[in-house]
Amino acid sequence: MTPDLSITLAGIRLKNPVMVASGTFGYGPEYADLVDLSQLGAMVVKGISLEPWRGNQTPRTVEVASGLINAIGLQNPGAEGFLQTYLPFLRQFDVPVIVNIWGRTVEEYAAVAARLSAAEGIAALELNVSCPNIKEGSKSFGSNADMFKRVIAATRAVTKLPLIPKLAPDVFRVAEFARQAEAEGADALAITNSVPAMAVDLETRRPKLANITGGLSGPAIKPIAVRLVWEAAKAVKIPIIGMGGIYTAADAAEFFIVGASAVAVGTANFMEPAAALQVAAGLRDYLARHQLGSIRDLVGTLTC
């Protein structure tokens, strides 16, 4: 019997537990020629704000040892732009669409959540309370406990869609934030966003990113992300979507074992557009080899 990869997460039924991470797979059309979107566990689109947003100046990314630092700055077409241009496209596919949202104020979070909730075809909202690249406010939400709470509460109040706060990689307080999110009614957690980082050009002595700092993603952060998921999983009952440096089924399996119920593939998409599908296929093999009937049997099975 082939192992069962399907899961129900925050009330959403997923064919498999491998999503693509926000900001690394665009809004759908970009990779659609290469990857059958219907086969993804879920499609998490790049962060959407109420109004269109230009993001940061360039350079916006820099490759570093086993990782990438990005400071895109959340460029996006705004809620209306997304609903008009991209959602109809995405609805052609049999895949849950999770919209990553952000705002510069608590009110903006609530407003974009409300606007998107009025549309058909969105499975859940992922709250980016942790993007390290926005100066006006979003940055602090993820590490300021009070703001964090208020953002979740305010969006919770305006939407019936499942809410998935995406935590900042706050290495010492992840359990605290996870518990707070759960208390405020979050349905699941996404852990983790990229880690604040920077790189310097030695010839010009200028930052390699126009935004000075950015977020580190990729294999370099995997051991940090696994640790964050483990800490959070011990602290809460709501499911966790683990991410950070997942390239292979083996990488993903680490996240499940420490307690993630699903995973997302981010930076790896740039190397292998079908990475998420390959991870899902590899997980199936891993489960078979370990005589586990379902991916659910792997979740939280760490023996210490």
Binding site: G23, T24, F25, G26, P29, E30, Y31, D33, L34, K46, R54, G55, Q57, T58, P59, R60, T61, V62, E63, A65, S66, G67, L68, N70, I72, Q75, T204, A210, G218, P219, T267, A268, N269, F270, M271, E272, P273, A274
Partner: protein, 267 residues
């Protein structure tokens, strides 16, 4: 756009510090338009998370050719790939040069560095011949001259140290040629090279009220329009600017589209 496991047919030094990589890529090769690029996964490039973008130099009979220079770790490791090895290629990507020149135009190609490779395919596919201006630091940096001549193109060379062609920047021979009467018609520029060169060509075209198609070189992650790394500023209808993705809407833009603000651009 396809993701293809190509096979390396040939990989060798090409002179001028460049290496030639010939790939059997039967799915991608037939689709390539001049100015488009392929995004290669460098075999055995550990510790790096990105593919590397390269213009297509030649594409025929299911075979792709790329000319590249080793400038960093990715291209250094690529240099060790052997004939017979597999290499994952994503392409063709981006929008290339237009091939439908209005009547009476003289195509003028201006190249720096690997620009010669990118423009070669254009020269081959354009319905008529014209003139190519190529610049470099020194004689050994000048690529593909004979290739262009074989296609019937005139080639004008400038080197900064004067070791080949005119001494100085490529704009010298270009200006001279324009002053001489610039062939039979209205020039239409096609340029590929360092951003500085592109800007000069663009300004010159604007001044002459000609068109200039510029292939911009931006750092890229996804290559398909998803990550928003490679954006350039285009002029907006209302005098402001909007971002365009050079991997998707570009890398070729007409100079009138581009919003130049140097301070904020990449070096």
């Amino acid at each position: 756009m396809q993701l293809e496991t190509a096979t390396i047919l040939e990989h060798r030094d090409y002179g001028a510090g460049y290496r030639l990589l010939r790939l059997a890529a039967p799915q991608i090769a037939p689709q390539v338009q001049p100015g488009q690029f392929v995004h290669l996964r460098v075999p055995r490039l550990e510790g790096c998370v990105l593919r590397r973008p390269f213009s297509v130099y030649k594409a025929a009979d299911g075979v792709l050719e790329v000319l590249y220079k080793a400038i960093g770790r990715g291209t250094a490791v690529l240099g060790a790939a052997l004939a017979g090895e597999k290499i994952s290629a994503l392409g063709p990507l981006g929008h290339g040069f237009p091939l439908d020149l209005p009547a009476g135009r003289v195509p003028v190609l201006v190249a720096g560095g690997y620009g010669m490779a990118a423009l070669y395919l254009l020269a081959k596919r354009l319905p008529l011949t014209g003139v190519v201006f190529v610049g470099g630091r020194s004689a050994p940096d000048i690529l593909c001259v004979e290739e262009f001549e074989k296609l019937g193109w005139k080639v004008r060379i400038a080197t900064e140290d004067g070791s080949r062609g005119v001494c100085g920047l490529v704009t010298g021979p270009l200006e001279a040629w324009l002053a001489e009467g610039r062939g039979q018609g209205m020039p239409e520029f096609f340029a590929c090279g360092p951003n500085g060169l592109l800007e000069v060509v663009g300004q010159r075209a604007l001044a002459g009220d000609w068109r200039a198609w510029l292939s911009v070189d931006r750092h890229m992650c996804c290559g398909v329009g998803a990550c928003l790394t490679c954006v350039v500023k285009l002029k907006d209808s209302d005098g402001a600017w909007v971002w365009a993705r050079s991997c998707k809407e570009g890398p070729v833009f007409e100079c009138r589209q581009i919003h130049w603000d140097r301070a904020e651009e990449e070096a």
